[in-house]
Amino acid sequence: SAVISQKPSRDICQRGTSLTIQCQVDSQVTMMFWYRQQPGQSLTLIATANQGSEATYESGFVIDKFPISRPNLTFSTLTVSNMSPEDSSIYLCSVPGQGRGYTFGSGTRLTVV
């Protein structure tokens, strides 16, 4: 299975600022997924990032708030823009793995103060 390196692992940010989260995969993948896990909640898909095209956002998520880059087949970034305390969550990236499974990054725990 693919190995994902996600960073930062955690951060504490001031409201109104932005944070960019990076995911590096050790193999080429067509699709990468970005999820949010709010405190005490399940995982919610933010967007699907395909290399060479615009990311596809789920209902309730917009590009201005969560811009995504996908410059190549092994790397993607998610930016959380103009943060507020409601953005405090764990953000995870994921890629399809072998045998139709999925591999998840270790997550970025974001606290907005």
Binding site: T30, F33, S42, L43, T44, P96, G99, R100, G101
Partner: protein, 114 residues
Amino acid sequence: AQSVSQHNHHVILSEAASLELGCNYSYGGTVNLFWYVQYPGQHLQLLLKYFSGDPLVKGIKGFEAEFIKSKFSFNLRKPSVQWSDTAEYFCAVNEGAAGNKLTFGGGTRVLVKP
């Protein structure tokens, strides 16, 4: 749109008790089904998955799940739990083709008392 429901938000049980967590999904076509576990302070780990074939799937740590197509269900079971099974459990489904996005259920927090 696809949805996944987990019936129990919290489960508390004693060691050696049996565990069954319910999961139902809404999609009527071909699906791939997953159970993930998240231990306190750790990231998601795959317990087991179903794609096709035998509807009774065995996973790691003594867990198993049964796919019942007519009931749109994929319930997770373990005959005898241990304190170390304290975790949050997530059912997830994707539609059809490999690599499609996963939709997660709301999760079930399981507390096993020693």
